[in-house]
């Protein structure tokens, strides 16, 4: 009744959804269109399949180490010294991710809503919110992430409304761009999908066995993949290929095109809802990072590290300026995401299989 720090499978579902859906949702259709043209939606689906395979790999890893998390596994397989270095790398990775998201958020928000508001204020507010909740335990985070899922309904609603003006010729003929562009689109999509490695960090805190975890992760993946495919598809159907090339934030432009009887510019509401999604992403990233640091320091007091991590992310975000700088950073950073989110867990599993390492069964 009191002091229970675990979350249910249902809560995990929403935590994972918020891991994956975040800042990128607004820009994804444009980024991927530059690579895969009219078949972008196939890239998104394929990326979803790759994530699904990764989830099964995670499942195998979770089966071998049912009670420790990613950081624990790393330390177990690589020893204390080297393992802790890798965990620190992970923490840094999450911090950079946080800083990157914040920078992107600030750029888009300043372009669309708050042109004269100083950047530090916008970034600082989100960081403050994140710190306020990340200090607490996972259970409270899960509650908030569940409630903030209401915004997703708004997103889907606006998107469905835009189907009114869909033009299916924009994506026909299907597959005309060829296999290579579709494949090239996958890594870009993976960047938006980033976040599912969070499962490896929190699975010991979930009231579920390994099978249930994989099941929940699979359901999440299906939801998220469908959601992203839907968003990309709608952008493809709404904008002509020539338009989509030059609109950096297709979702916002799309919503801006509508007017309702009582709301002239729904994109302002849309952006407001998107702020919530940004906040949830930052919350998760900061949690992951602070978890890593407190693990390295063998400390039970995570809250101190939350402040450190949040501060570093804030300064990282402040040090990146402009759209082009963000683009170039994301180009450099993309391979790292694939390395940390997919590559490294696979490596861990391989090591565990080759050396036949398993978690020592506790008597309890």
């Amino acid at each position: 009744m009191i002091g229970n720090k675990e979350i249910t499978q249902f809560q995990l579902l929403f935590v994972l959804i918020h891991c994956q859906i975040g800042v990128g949702i607004i820009t994804l259709p444009n980024e991927i269109f530059l690579k895969a043209k009219g078949d972008s939606w196939m890239s998104v689906l394929l990326a979803g399949i790759i994530i699904q395979i990764t989830i099964f790999i995670f499942g195998a890893l979770m089966k071998r180490f049912p009670s420790s998390n990613l950081y624990g596994i790393i330390q177990f397989l690589f020893g204390k010294g080297f393992g802790k270095m890798i965990v620190i790398l992970y923490s840094i990775y999450f911090m950079i991710l946080g800083g990157f998201f914040l920078a992107k958020f600030a750029v888009i928000l300043r372009a669309w809503m708050m042109p004269t508001t100083p950047k530090w204020l916008l970034v600082g507010l989100i960081v403050m919110i994140a710190v306020y909740i990340v200090k607490e335990n996972l259970q409270i985070m899960a509650r908030f992430l569940f409630i903030s899922s209401i915004t997703l309904i708004g997103f889907i609603g606006f998107s469905i409304y835009s189907l009114k003006e869909a033009n299916f010729t924009y994506i026909l003929p299907i597959g005309n761009t060829g296999v290579v562009p579709i494949m090239k689109g996958i890594p870009t999509t993976l960047f938006s999908y980033q976040g599912f490695e969070f499962l490896l960090l929190i699975y010991p805190f979930v009231q579920s066995d390994q099978k249930g975890l994989v099941k929940v992760a699979t359901i999440t993946n299906i939801i998220v993949t469908l959601f992203y495919t839907f968003i990309v598809m709608i952008s493809l159907l709404f904008f002509s290929p020539n338009e989509l090339k030059i609109v950096p934030e297709p979702m916002l432009y799309l919503v801006k095109a509508f007017t309702f009887k009582i709301i002239e510019r729904p994109d302002l509401l849309f952006t407001s809802m998107w702020i919530v999604l940004v906040a949830t992403t930052i919350i998760i990233v900061l949690y992951a990072s602070s978890l890593g640091l407190s693990f390295v320091m063998n400390s039970n007091k995570r809250s101190i590290y939350v402040f450190i991590v949040a501060g570093i992310s804030f300064f990282l975000a402040m040090s990146v300026y402009g759209v082009y700088e963000i683009d170039s950073v994301s180009r450099i950073f993309n391979p790292f995401i694939i390395l940390f989110a997919i590559g490294f867990p696979i490596l861990l599993l391989l090591i565990a299989i080759i050396f036949n390492k398993k978690e020592v069964e506790n008597s309890g």
Binding site: M1, I2, T8, F10, Q11, L109, M113, M114, T117, L121, L122, L125, I126, I129, Y132, I133, E136, Q139, I140, A142, R143, F144, F146, I147, S148, T259, K261, I262, I263, E264, R265, L268, L269, T271, S272, M273, I275, V276, A279
Partner: protein, 503 residues
């Protein structure tokens, strides 16, 4: 009791040790008189029983002379030679004690104390003067249908009201005395077979840890035992209605009542409990549901309407449709202040009217309402200090905040309005979203005795939503709400069994 031991460090001007009776009557009299500092309302009466001299003590202000006559003095005159004194005293609350300090405490509770020459015991019997009003409808929790009975200031009568409603042997009433100096009697009430034992234990533990010299109102207890005393949100439900208390007791919740207060504090409660009203259950369930949704909407409406207006006018004029721009712009065109100042002035005015009208006698309160509401509202627009759209928004907000059945929750929301308005004035929609996120995160953090504050929404419990957001038909709510962790899950089986057999 353990809490007295714990508080040994605290200086106390009352001697609470054991003091056996002195052998001589004079010493005893002296002791009791000195214990009361020879207060003028301490009365003594000479009594002779079996040739033994004695003294009957009582506090004139606390005792009912008729009861003293009937339960002691009249039987004493009729007593035989061989009768035992224990049989002579016909009082129900008869007791003896070898400790003089017990006698002093009992006198304070309205008892009489009889001290006889050479006896080692004092005879205590209960003769309190009850001075309470009759139960009537609580002013601040009125309902249209259903019971119109409310609690009064006497704990005994309140317990009687509860017992009359819940005629069940499992109804537990535990009395405690709180306040080191003022000895306030309080009761914990719960259903023994329903309430979770660990919850009851936790509440008892927290109550026993209170070390105050006097507990004046239940609010004192509440602030000491709630988990998040710094939160703006109320975490315990106050009620003056026995029927409401009964409903909560039968869900497995625990109530605290104190002597001298009409309020029962119910715990643990969730955010949604503050939006329930007994009227919901006396109406048809459509009405109950719609009106409860209306109240929940008012909560969020109060919080967001003025900020939205400020944000739209100050930042996002482009969001309102063209036709409305003309209206709004026309109304604020000649107003010299920024919308935030307008809103602040109006909100503070409304708060002033409320605060001024609250404690005044009803006729004057109405005058204040008319002067404040009509004259100021009208004049402020005519003078061009505040735009009329702003007056509409603020007035609507005030009305919405008063629809919330729990007075505390309405206050909370009006207080939270200020930071939200500041955020909207500085950051527009971003400010509103950020402050709403802060508030919701804060609500996620809150717990009331281990129960998450916004359950059954988060953590989600679909069945619990039946009685939270809306009110489902009573026959469809078969289980106790899960957040209380009641011992017996089932509330009813099928209460419309006849409907199924009837073909």
């Amino acid at each position: 009791m353990s809490f007295f031991k714990k508080n040994k460090g605290m200086p106390s001007f009352v001697n609470k040790g054991i003091n056996p009776l002195f052998p001589s009557l004079e010493d005893n009299i002296k002791y009791i008189c000195e214990a009361f500092n020879n207060t003028d309302d301490l009365k003594m009466r000479k009594v002779t029983f079996h040739e033994k001299q004695g003294k009957l003590f009582y506090l004139e202000a606390m005792t009912d002379p008729k009861i003293i006559e009937h339960s002691f003095l009249i039987p004493l005159t009729e007593a035989d030679e061989c009768d035992d004194l224990r049989n002579v005293i016909t009082n129900v609350g008869f007791n003896t004690s070898t400790n003089l300090n017990d006698a002093v405490s009992a006198l304070l509770m309205g008892s009489c104390a009889l001290v006889l020459e050479g006896e080692k015991e004092t005879y205590l019997f209960n003769t309190p003067q009850m001075n309470t009003r009759a139960p009537d409808e609580p002013e601040n929790e009125k309902v249209v249908r259903g019971s119109h009975l409310g609690f009064v200031e006497s704990l005994d009568i309140n317990m009687n009201l509860i017992r009359q409603r819940v005629k069940n042997r499992q109804l537990m009433i535990k009395y405690y005395e709180l306040g080191m100096e003022s000895n306030r009697k309080m009761a914990i009430v719960y259903m023994n077979q329903l309430a979770n034992p660990s919850l009851v234990e936790e509440i008892e533990k927290r109550i026993l840890s209170i070390s105050m010299d006097s507990i004046i109102a239940p609010g004192y207890i509440e602030e000491c035992i709630e988990e998040h005393p710094m939160s703006p949100f109320p975490q315990n439900l106050y009620t003056e209605r026995p029927d409401r208390l009964e409903a909560h007791l039968m869900e497995g919740r625990v109530a605290i009542m104190t002597e001298g207060s009409t309020d029962a504090i119910i715990m643990p409660v969730t955010f949604f409990s503050f939006f329930q009203s007994p009227d919901d259950f006396n109406n048809r369930f459509y009405e109950g549901s719609v009106f409860r949704l209306l109240r929940l909407f008012s909560f969020w409406g109060t919080l967001t309407f003025p900020p939205l207006y400020i944000a739209v006018v100050g930042f996002h004029f482009e969001i309102i449709p063209y036709d409305m721009v003309v209206i709004v712009k026309g109304s604020i065109e000649n107003v010299p202040f920024p919308p935030f100042v307008e809103a602040l002035v109006m909100v503070i005015t409304i708060e002033l009217i409320r605060e001024a009208g609250l404690r005044l006698p009803t006729p004057i309160g109405q005058t204040i309402g008319i002067v404040g509401g009509l004259i100021i509202g009208e004049a402020v627009v005519n003078a061009g200090l505040v735009s009329n759209v702003m007056v509409i928004v603020i007035a609507l907000t005030a009305i919405m905040s008063f629809t919330i059945p729990a007075y505390e929750m309405g206050n909370t929301i009006r207080i939270l309005l200020f930071p939200t308005m500041i955020a909207a004035a500085t950051l527009g929609f971003v400010g509103i979203v950020v402050s709403l996120m802060f508030i919701i995160i804060h609500m996620c953090k809150l717990q009331s005795f281990g129960t998450p504050y916004i359950t059954p929404l988060a953590p989600l419990n679909i069945k619990g939503l039946k009685d939270a957001l809306v009110r489902f038909p009573i026959w469809s709510m078969n289980k106790h709400s899960k957040d209380v962790h009641a011992q017996l899950p089932l509330k009813q089986r099928s209460s419309r069994e006849w409907d199924k057999n009837d073909r």
